[in-house]
Amino acid sequence: MSTVAARIPDHPRTLAEKVWDDHVVVKGEDGRPDLIYIDLHLVHEVTSPQAFDGLRAEGRPVRRLDLTIATEDHNTPTLAIDQPIADLTSRTQIETLRRNAAEFGVRLHSLGDKEQGIVHVVGPQLGLTMPGVTVVCGDSHTSTHGAFGAMAFGIGTSEVEHVLATQTLPLKPFKTMAITVEGELKPGVTAKDIILAVIAKIGTNGGQGYVLEFRGSAIRALSMEGRMTICNMSIEAGARAGMVAPDETTFAYLKGRPHAPEGQDWEDAVAYWRTLPTDEGAVFDAEVFVAADTLEPFVTWGTNPGQGVSLSDVVPAPEDFEDPNEQTAARRALEYMDLVPGTPLKDVPVDAVFMGSCTNSRIEDLRAFASIVQGRTKADGVRVMVVPGSARVRLEAEAEGLDKVFVDFGAEWRFAGCSMCLGMNPDQLAPGERCASTSNRNFEGRQGKGGRTHLVSPLVAAATAVLGRLASPSDLPAHTAVEA
């Protein structure tokens, strides 16, 4: 049982340890896991059907409907959303979620609803994601919510059922890793470039078993959107979760959102949130340092998010890697990506540009993209898709006239969803097509069978859409629009 002593420990603690300690329902003894309370459970159509089925089989209710929220995102089309979904499997998953939500009483935002969208965009925008809480979802990119100083991680279907039934999870504590990014970013370098560089540095397994805490002046200077981009991709370094300590930026983002605390609750919450940052003298299990001013716009050349380099570099050769496993991986990746070592990345032409996904589809991301494409025309033959992360982001963008900027540029302006982040809905690459994508995974076939993905920031995606080859905004001829 969590005792007062456990809540007022005498040693300096990290942010992650504080959030953990405050959620221990039963302390695990003799190597048993701790029982951890879950403050917020996000649900979507892909990983929930069997969990609801399990509840039904045992005659169990959802314990806390008021801590549970569902949305449709992975399977949803982003055009003609008022039509029945053509793909049968997709339609069944969506209809199953609707039935389950109705039967159990779970709040659901369906396609067409103004709060519908990618689960990791919806939580923060409603003000449900906040500092010092635990958030889970049957989706690995739940790490996104750590940007608020929440402990947020993806879970499997059995665990989804466990949380629905008990609002808790038996868990063993994670290790902690500090990733300190100090200094100022150069113009045109963004949060996406920071995280791609970090993953390239520590590898796709470097974070295994850890909660990463992103710290340092460059992180403090980021907006909430930028912090979410970074935490979103922590999972791509193999980490269980990513976190950023809450500060004035966090509080300002939250204040006034539909489900943010109000009145005395707000005062109490902020007072508590201010106690969360890692104590002076707290010890991390591992530490990594990155100098922000050395970073450049980043791009992946391979088929995992760790295979990335600066955009001004060339495609590496397998022999450039010391580790024989990495050499093999590089050889396979180059073949799949159809790239020749030594080719400047800026010479690589693309067929498509995808601006979207839970990594980069918030209003700020769309503004950044718009700031580059405004007043320009997309390159001939390049297909450009702009997909807002949520219906609300779509409305916000339209209110600002961004939709017009995109359409004038020659891009397709879509409805909200995961879209071309993964080949589960109609938005897919054709075999052999090459795409500059603001999403988070460049695995073989991720954006469609045989499709080739280069992960980039919204600014690089925009410049690439203008020139038809991988490019950064500084490669564009002078332009009169105001930069964001």
Partner: protein, 198 residues
């Protein structure tokens, strides 16, 4: 989860080793949205062969499976256990199980008992002489009786206890219901609530 004490049922021989989860349930069945109703998917490709053991009338109602070593290797799909359970299996005995499969089985009330290779051969021989013979499995005593043969099996104490008590992970956690309720009673009011809709 139902408590498991003893179980008597027809025992089927699966005289193969390294039966991986792709054989237990092929990937095409993973697109389903239910956690039950996988009985038709069990050993789906093998069952196309009329000679396959489960297609023989003597074993159609089998609830105990005795398989060769390394049962349940490969993909971690929980569906493999669901398929065995839905078909009606309560017990699988084998000289060796893949770890993840055993873990998944324990969560779903399927007993996985480890027996010696020589006992496996003996059981197969008894079944061959008397197709459709029943076996009685006693979880508390960790024994199985078939004809005159009494054999012992192993299962780890924690899993054995959970199965005897009929506790799945959720059932176990619900034993701490009082602690959960107490925790909830002192949760701060500023913490997120999805309802009422705002």
């Amino acid at each position: 989860m139902e408590k498991f004490t003893t179980h008597t049922g027809v025992v089927a021989p699966l005289t193969r080793s390294a039966v991986d989860t792709d054989q237990i349930i092929p990937a095409v069945y993973l697109k389903r949205v239910t956690k039950t109703g996988f009985e038709d998917a069990l050993f789906a490709s093998w069952r196309q062969d009329p000679e396959f053991v489960l297609n023989q009338p003597a074993y159609r109602d089998a609830s105990i499976l005795v398989a060769g070593p390394d049962f349940g290797t490969g993909s971690s799909r929980e569906h493999a256990v669901w398929a065995l359970r839905d078909y009606g299996f309560r017990v699988v005995l084998s000289p060796r199980f893949a770890d993840i499969f055993r873990g998944n089985a324990g969560k779903q009330g399927l007993v996985t008992g480890v027996i010696s290779e020589s006992d496996t051969e003996k059981v197969w021989a008894i079944i061959a002489a008397q197709p459709g013979i029943e076996m009685t499995v006693d979880l508390e005593a960790r024994t199985a009786q078939i004809g005159d043969l009494r054999l012992t099996f192993e299962i780890d104490d924690y899993t054995g206890w959970r199965l005897l008590e009929g506790l799945d992970d959720i059932g176990l956690t619900l034993r701490d219901e009082a602690a959960i309720a107490q925790f909830e009673a002192r949760r701060e009011t500023w913490r997120p609530r999805t309802l009422p809709v705002r």
